[in-house]
């Protein structure tokens, strides 16, 4: 199958690659760019582990073809923070022990980042509804909700 040239920006770095049209964005990030922070769980949009920001909006990278991302800007968990300089949301997850095995965590973080940008998240019910598309099999969610609750409160007066 003929490969298609695409150019996109991932975490501020421009990449040009030739991809098969059927290449999913999730596999493009992991296999072609070596960015294995984005995890692949169900590959049909149910588990949320592969969530990234695509042009600023959260998206399932397993439900997006890389060819459809030509010209796009992608942010993955690698673009948040690093050891010793965690993103405030990562710091909140760490403080609240909002992860155990870590498989769902990149998707949780990218989803929560978009929720924090778009919704008041004034109640736990709203936080839980927002996170309902991301499955976690370890924590029971309570600590994830607590971490997002703290991040929501820390936004201050500029909340939406």
């Amino acid at each position: 199958m003929e490969r298609t040239s695409i150019a996109l920006t991932v975490n501020g770095v421009r990449h040009e690659r030739k991809v098969e049209p059927r290449r999913l964005l999730s596999d493009f990030l992991r296999e072609d760019l070596g960015l294995t922070g984005t995890h692949v769980g169900c590959e049909h949009g149910v588990c949320g582990a592969c969530t990234v920001l695509l042009d600023g909006d959260s998206a399932r990278s397993c439900l997006t073809f890389a060819v459809q991302c030509d010209g796009a800007s992608v942010r993955t968990v690698e673009g948040l923070g690093e050891i010793g300089a965690l993103h405030p949301l990562q710091e909140s997850f760490r403080r609240h022990h909002a992860l155990q095995c870590g498989f769902c965590t990149p998707g949780m973080l990218m989803t929560a980042l978009d929720l924090l940008a778009k919704y008041p998240l004034a109640t736990d019910e709203e936080i839980r509804a927002g996170l309902s598309g991301n499955l976690c099999r370890c924590t029971g969610y309570a600590n994830i909700v607590a971490a997002v609750r703290e991040a929501a409160a820390a936004r201050g007066d500029d909340r939406p």
């Binding site: 199958m1 590959e43 049909h44 949009g45 909006d57 060819v67 978009d114 929720l115 598309g133």
Partner: protein, 291 residues
């Protein structure tokens, strides 16, 4: 799983998209947000030889008002419907329904045209189109037509679209002043497809319901209007006996399936409960018919 290999064509206009789809025939499928198509490809339930990407066709997300309708471009994303001030003002029931559609990441990508064409029996947008008598604009090579929402949905995942046709625009006729609305659905987990759902509008006049509309979804092959129940409530003051008779009528009119998630009897029961609540909300928002 991974999707099967396909050839990718990006169309820049409706003319180009429909020409390409006509050229490849039933080997081709259009793709926009891909939020219904890509899961089916990953499961290999569908294996199109060619995908025609219509995502770049302008205007990608137009929402405007003209000639007594709100017109919505087919590529408008669910999230844009959820947040549009015009939709919130003219069709608050539609804005409310959008918050129940899957999850934010899906709403950010999925389009109104895609949801209508996918035609899941439990999806919210097809039910909104049926409730609000939407007119669906369809283009094919060298032509276009308009399909009324009531005639668009022919079965589960089955529409009146023919090979080579794409949806370009959806027109929603404005509701009369004094119209209240209600939207209720029940799902085991927020964002899942509803086990059943109901939406209603009531236009009040001097303490009476001048016009009543009820749409049900998740309780049959397609979203349906509860015509008998609508007729029973039209002209009433929503007295308890009138509402009870309407709920009985709509329960008798639906034909839900048993599946893993719920029995047919339970879905029929839910349809009545949810329709009753949606009607109550709509009647209250219409000022109890005072407007």
């Amino acid at each position: 799983m991974k999707p099967p290999a396909f050839e990718y064509v990006a169309a820049e206009s409706v003319e180009e998209a429909t020409a390409r789809l006509a050229e490849y025939g039933d080997d081709a499928r259009p793709i926009a947000g891909g939020q219904s198509l890509v899961p089916m490809m990953n499961f290999r339930l569908v294996s199109p030889a060619v995908l025609v990407d219509i995502r770049r066709i302008a205007p990608p997300d137009a929402i405007g008002e003209a000639d007594g309708h709100v017109r919505i471009g087919a590529l408008t994303r669910h999230r844009a419907l959820e947040t549009s001030p015009l939709i919130r003002d003219r069709f608050p029931v539609l804005a409310a329904a959008m918050t129940h559609v899957a999850h934010l990441a899906i709403r950010n990508r999925g389009t109104i045209g895609g949801s209508l064409c996918h035609a899941d029996p439990a999806a919210e947008l097809p039910a909104m189109a049926v409730l609000l008598d939407a007119r669906i604009h369809v283009a094919r090579r060298n032509g276009e037509r308009i399909v009324e929402a009531g005639a668009f949905f022919e079965g589960a995942l089955w529409t009146a679209l023919e090979d080579g046709e794409i949806v370009t625009r959806i027109d929603f006729p404005l509701l009369p002043p004094g119209t209240g609305w209600g939207f209720r659905e029940f799902a085991r987990r927020h964002g899942d497809f509803a086990l059943a759902g109901a939406a209603a509008t009531v236009t009040g006049s001097a303490g009476r319901a001048a016009e009543v509309r009820i749409a049900l979804f998740g309780v049959g092959e397609t979203p349906v209007r509860a015509a008998a129940a609508e007729a029973l409530l039209t002209g009433t003051g929503f007295e308890p006996d009138a509402v009870a008779a309407a709920i009985d009528a709509l329960r008798n009119a639906v034909d839900p399936d048993d599946d893993l998630h719920a029995s047919a009897d339970y879905r029929r029961h839910l349809a009545g409960i949810l329709a009753g609540r949606a009607l109550g909300d709509a009647w209250a928002r219409a000022g109890g018919g005072a407007a």
